[in-house]
């Protein structure tokens, strides 16, 4: 099968890349688009380190064939801050100690962004469920829950 040209809107910018149709979207993002903030932890959709938003939906990019993303809009961790200004969820991760080694952090933040887009004031149980597809080995999750909760509160970092 030859390479195929696909068009993707990446963090708001139109991009066209030539890919093997069954290449993993994760590899296209990291290698073709040069966005290495999206990580690989397991390659089988268990750990969520490769999570992105695909047309607004939280998606493990290691499980998506590149061709399936043709015409889609994706958001990666690089698209979350506004220029040099951190998004509230990033600021909250920083302040609460939600990131330790940092390898799960991009995916974890994408899952939190997805949750907060659907549910501005999640309960702790809702936060736990929303992050259940993202594994973290460092934190025991407590400070990640706190970060998501802080980002969802008006008295938290400015929105």
């Amino acid at each position: 099968m030859p390479k195929a040209a696909i068009n993707i809107t990446v963090n708001g910018a139109a991009r066209s890349v030539s890919v093997w149709p069954m290449a993993r979207l994760l590899d296209v993002i990291r290698e073709e688009l040069g966005l290495t903030g999206t990580k690989e932890g397991c390659g089988e959709g268990e750990c969520g380190a490769c999570a992105i938003l695909l047309d607004g939906r939280l998606t493990n990019s290691c499980l998506v064939p590149a061709l399936q993303a043709d015409g889609a809009a994706i958001t990666t961790i690089e698209g979350i801050a506004r220029g040099e200004k951190l998004a509230p969820i990033q600021q909250a991760f920083l302040e609460c100690g939600g990131a330790q080694c940092g390898i799960c952090t991009p995916g974890m933040i994408m899952a939190a962004v997805s949750l907060l887009a659907e549910n501005a004031k999640p309960s702790e149980a809702e936060i736990r469920n929303a992050l259940a597809g993202n594994l973290c080995r460092c934190t025991g999750y407590m400070r990640i829950f706190e970060a998501v909760s802080r980002a969802s509160r008006p008295e938290g970092p400015q929105r």
Partner: protein, 742 residues
Amino acid sequence: MAESLIGVGVPRKEGRNKVTGKAQYIDDLHFEGMLYGVTVRSPAPRGRIKAIRFGKEIPWDEFTVVTAADIPGKNCIALIVDDQPCLAQSVVNHAEEPVLLLAHADKYLLEEARRAVEIEIEPLPAIFNIEDSLRGDLIIWGENNVFKQFRVSKGNVDAAWSEAALIVEGEYSTGAQEQLYIENNGMIAIAGPEQGVTVWGSMQCPYYIHKALKTVFGLPEEKIRVIQAETGGGFGGKEEYPSMIAAHAALLAWKAGKPVKLIYDRAEDMAATTKRHPSRTRHRTAVSRDGKLLAMEVDFVVDGGAYATLSSVVLSRGTIHAAGPYACPNVRILSRAVATNAPPHGAFRGFGAPQSIFALERHMDRAAAAVGLAPEEFRRRNFLRKGDTTATGQVIHEDVDMPGMLDQALRESDYHAKKERFARDNRGNAIKRGIGFASFFHGAGFTGSGERYLASIAGVEATSEGIVRVLASSTEIGQGTNTILTQIAAGTLGVPYESVEIVQPDTGNVPNSGPTVASRTCMVVGQLVESAALGLKETLAGAGLLKPSYTPEEFTRACAAYIAQHGPLRSYSQYQAPPGIFWDDEKYQGDAYGAFAWAVYVAEVNVDTLTCEARVTNFVAVQEVGRVVNPVLAAGQIEGGVAQGIGLALYENVVWQNGRMVNGQMTNYIIPTAVDIPPIKVVFEERPYAYGPMGAKGIGELPMDGPAPAIASAVENATGIRLNSVPATPETLMAALDNAYA
């Protein structure tokens, strides 16, 4: 001013890069003309290599192929004992042992090539468990399969048995556990006879890799350079094995004349790299009528896998912790690390202590029951107090208060009321609730004379702009090295947090501050940084450039003036043992650690007697770790360690078949998720340690020790079954419940 940064939860130094995705881990780096590398591994646990065949369908002339014959220096991964080859030459001693390396620019073709190599092995009989190894019918290592043996002796155990009101015996075991850092291992190397060898990678210990590469390439130390990339978790799993991967990447780069990137995928990382040592412990304990420990005899064995690697040191820490924070006049410990044909087991947070402490705490519950005391009362009567001696004869000089911490932990967890209520409510309920605790200590820094042998060095330098740069090989692996060393340097020098930079660990640029292990970074290296910073201040003061009290601006002007007059402004400090610390390697007696951290952990569980699942529903962690340098990071260490301990207790089960892990995927090797972790209440009792930086002690490993025995005790309290081993998976619990309720 000087200490205003200590005890403050300043944000992580490199945190901004981590939350924006800008942090560069090894797999994020790309070098021009870079090839990819893979490892071809032994399919058999033990045997002779008869032939290596290359499938016809692959264009082999495009590949770089490396075997043992290509090694320029010595074919071994230098660590403690030179028994582990870099690449197996004629025999293999465990499944997944590296035999051959391949490199190619196309990683997809490379993967096909890896599968097209067939290694034919003539099988030899193999050993897969501790008991078979101890029996010695088959010898696979040395004269008796024993990598290392220790004997600890205090008082006269034999004389104590006859005085005992009770003698309590028990046997306990723990399984292998995968570190499961979310970033897999990986290295990139550039190498050649002219320029020497340079590697970048995910690692804990740059100078361990440096030593291993010197040996493999037979090069002088200045020809080897090791640079740490951002590292996505270690937990011990990136202590020793990265030396192997670095050597492999460098051998491929050496032969190819191009940079080579060697990144493991999850399956390879889980199957081939180290895990926590499985253990088996037997206890025999003499107790008086009034519940005092009279004698303890402990037989502690760990499964080291096929090569010696770090097993002797893991065993040492496990041995010293085997009698725990209890005062017992007569103690005898025999401990052994034995060989099996599993991939070598290695460092994992706690380093042998979680294994021996699990056994001890389970046994203390048994002994309490036997003598008719509540487990907390039995502990209370036997805790080490100031002035008492440990099993190795170390006199406790710290103001330790284990009874107070026990009371606090029981109060915080509402232990007594819950225990009563659960017992009442459990009747007739399919879901049984229970509560249990563990009390323990953990020594910080290298064991025994380890720190003296290491003789670590750290330094600070200042620029004309008043920027202070910390020079150490201690790595940031998520635990907070960058942040706490910055706090300590900035706090000591009275300059802002932002004025301190951490120099990237690079053996070409930083002194050897020792490995990033053993809960030593804050206490030992932090103290070196503190002392180097004091030295820098004295240099400026001695040159008449700095008054006793100064502003950051005055500090900057002093630095600029000093550098203009005298050149570079640097100060180094080398480890010196605190006064009164002595360890006898021969007798295995003395001051095992400069300081201990102390803790009592309480776990609450639900056990569903229909599905046989146990869940931890609440957790309280009370500990004393000296002064807390950064409360956010410190609590994060405890919570993360507790989560890993919950995994060890209930979920993480390495399934072995012929010495090979068969569930090496995140799909079937289960670590706790966001819905499996209970609320964790973390309480620090702060007692400054005189010889730690700003009073701090070690913290990283401590939280790994307590959860498993506390949870097992809670499961036992809930169900009445006897839980002597972990992990307590639903399968194990089902068998036990069937027995108990039959």
